[in-house]
Symmetry: C2
Subunit: 454 residues, 2 copies
Amino acid sequence: MSKGLGIPKGTRDFSPKEMVRRNYIFDTIKRVFQTYGYMPIETPSMENMETLTGKYGDEGDRLIFKVLNSGDFLAKADQTALAEKDSLKVTKSISEKALRYDLTVPFARYVVQHQNDITFPFKRYQIQPVWRADRPQRGRYREFYQCDADVVGSDALIHEVELIQIFDKVLTQLNIPSFTIKLNNRKVLSGIAEVIGQPEQLINITVAIDKLDKIGKEKVLEELTERGVRADAIEKLSPLFDLSGTNEHKLSILKSFLADSEVGMKGMEELEYVLNYIHLVGLESAELELDVTLARGLNYYTGAIFEVKANNVSIGSICGGGRYDDLTGIFGLKDVSGVGISFGADRIYDVLEELNLFPEIENQTTQILFLNFGEKEEQFVFKIASQLRNKGVNVEVYPDAAKLKKQMKYADNKNIPTTVIVGSEELANNTLSVKNMKTGEQEKVSVEQYIARF
Amino acid sequence: MSKGLGIPKGTRDFSPKEMVRRNYIFDTIKRVFQTYGYMPIETPSMENMETLTGKYGDEGDRLIFKVLNSGDFLAKADQTALAEKDSLKVTKSISEKALRYDLTVPFARYVVQHQNDITFPFKRYQIQPVWRADRPQRGRYREFYQCDADVVGSDALIHEVELIQIFDKVLTQLNIPSFTIKLNNRKVLSGIAEVIGQPEQLINITVAIDKLDKIGKEKVLEELTERGVRADAIEKLSPLFDLSGTNEHKLSILKSFLADSEVGMKGMEELEYVLNYIHLVGLESAELELDVTLARGLNYYTGAIFEVKANNVSIGSICGGGRYDDLTGIFGLKDVSGVGISFGADRIYDVLEELNLFPEIENQTTQILFLNFGEKEEQFVFKIASQLRNKGVNVEVYPDAAKLKKQMKYADNKNIPTTVIVGSEELANNTLSVKNMKTGEQEKVSVEQYIARF
């Protein structure tokens, strides 16, 4: 192979087969988003550097891909920094643009920039690639699609309910046999920290109890001590670890636990609203589980917190989300509450592959291959192929009169379910020999009859 | 507005309205590609620098967006070049990756890299953004989508025929009222240069006659002289400028003109094959015009050359394409002939907008808004909304009991065609008041009847 072949590490080519499967996932998600009034937007791949820096922490800043200024960039570079070989400082002077790191910050920028043209509440979805200069590893890429739906400009809880329905609908339509939507609320976590007398330890407490699933109760208690949570507070916290049973049962225990915390009771009220509405209509196949140990993205979320896990597979979380009260504040627009979710398309792909759940997707691939036996036959089948295409059927004519074996191999490799043979006999009788490539069955039909089938 | 707002020049945000229209164009193109057996692939946004450099000429190299290496890039930089402030040289040592400049080179790289997994002839389409550090101006962007279909690994002319059909089908389905597909062949151009006795002047001749449309015959003759074409050669060329009438008429004149040129007659044969096949099935609405002055991308094309123009609009060429005999040679895989076309999605968008041809696209936007008059009513309509969504209808419930005027304004702004009112009366009678937002008509229906309509 010649020099330069290959692609940057952490990036991927997608073959036709993979594309059809990825589109199946994206199309399912889009269709469901749309039934809830979410509408697509797209933002540029490159944002101004100032838009992105400082939004993801120092580690995030480091992982942002920077685009080099065009032209004689060194002439305008920070000469002192250059002399000092300070790469970080030089970057600022030779790179004005960067590739987006997620869809959330560009969305916030979009909302603030276009606030006068937007009708609020603004329900948008966005499915585009993002880039991170992370160390690539299994399931982690430097370029990957995010798939987000958010509504901003409304603090109504009906959105939380609908987003849970969206999780349920999408994953049901994708035939994932068993999955759990976990639900929590930041206000409940705040209430817990308050009730045990250590509101200032909220982050340490949630970081520790978030690990309950993985490391068990004993280790979590140890970690709480290490993190400086007082013994009497841990003692008070203890009953929450054994919270089990139905959501109703958990709610009743939490209610008495949180009775003295205003913020905690507000959280309870929000949880109850959501659970009540879901109860009104039911879910198709999701299990909805109240989980007070769920804390993902805590710094960010202010109300509901969601996470979806596919059960019985090695891949864990496949979706997440939550409510945030100040998305656009970073760009100077205050008091815009929002709630959003994100589908992990790559992980969903892996789940569907692991469980062998991808359907045959025939409407996007070739349905019929007309074999080619020479000039006269080619002209004959070309006309028929054109008529079928006019009816929306996906048809190919093998482009030259190659050996039959080669043509059949082409059909096999492309997984084309039907081949049509026209030799001199068919030509004379205006018929087609139609072969079902799966069963091997072959039939003779008149041209008119065959076309009329579609 | 806060600092950092706005997006890099030459890039765009796409609003929901624009996205729906862009998707309408892309979906139409995809559907037609698929009926001809073209399948989607995607390649990474970033390619290794060596994959891209040297493929687009010096000017192209300059316009490629380079991605800065992560980490302490200055430590590994070319120190001599750095000391000399040679930006061009330094770039090579601090930037290993670049944003793709078109879809053609990444496609060639894909074919060579995956040659053992690909079934040839390989028909692929690819719709992805590309980036160019060009000076932005009206209709020219630094990030824009390309929309390409190519078949490689076959020199059969039936592909040319099918690609012309694809132009015709796509633009017909987009309701473009009048457009012309121009067809030429590189071999005919070579033949002409041969016949007039100046084969070495092929490029100069075609560059000059390509301008016939814009500057007229006299100026083209002047330019030919300036470019060093001999007077006797120009004299011989002269009758071709007046080539008019039907394609058949042009063919017959060209045939006698090119009679002594082998390559010219090969070109004629190819043109005749294509025109014959198109004649067999006809075109839906395109005019197909043989145009010997068409020369776009001549350095590149080796057979057929296509260009599509929308008539009666200021925007010129909206599609192009042609056959190339050595796409993958640059990556070490010889003798892979291919032919491909490209749709200019941004230009097609502008044509549809200029001629007011975008349809109402209702299946992607909200069809019904349930107004919200309080808690009881909300729960009532939420259940109905859920049932309608299960039937695939796009439905929103206004998220809180805001003033009626505000809710109606939301429906107006989002162009939602139907609103449903449920107040205490409707609640008591299990009915809905359904309002057609265009006519203003309002009707009362039972819930069951209304749901049954969908």
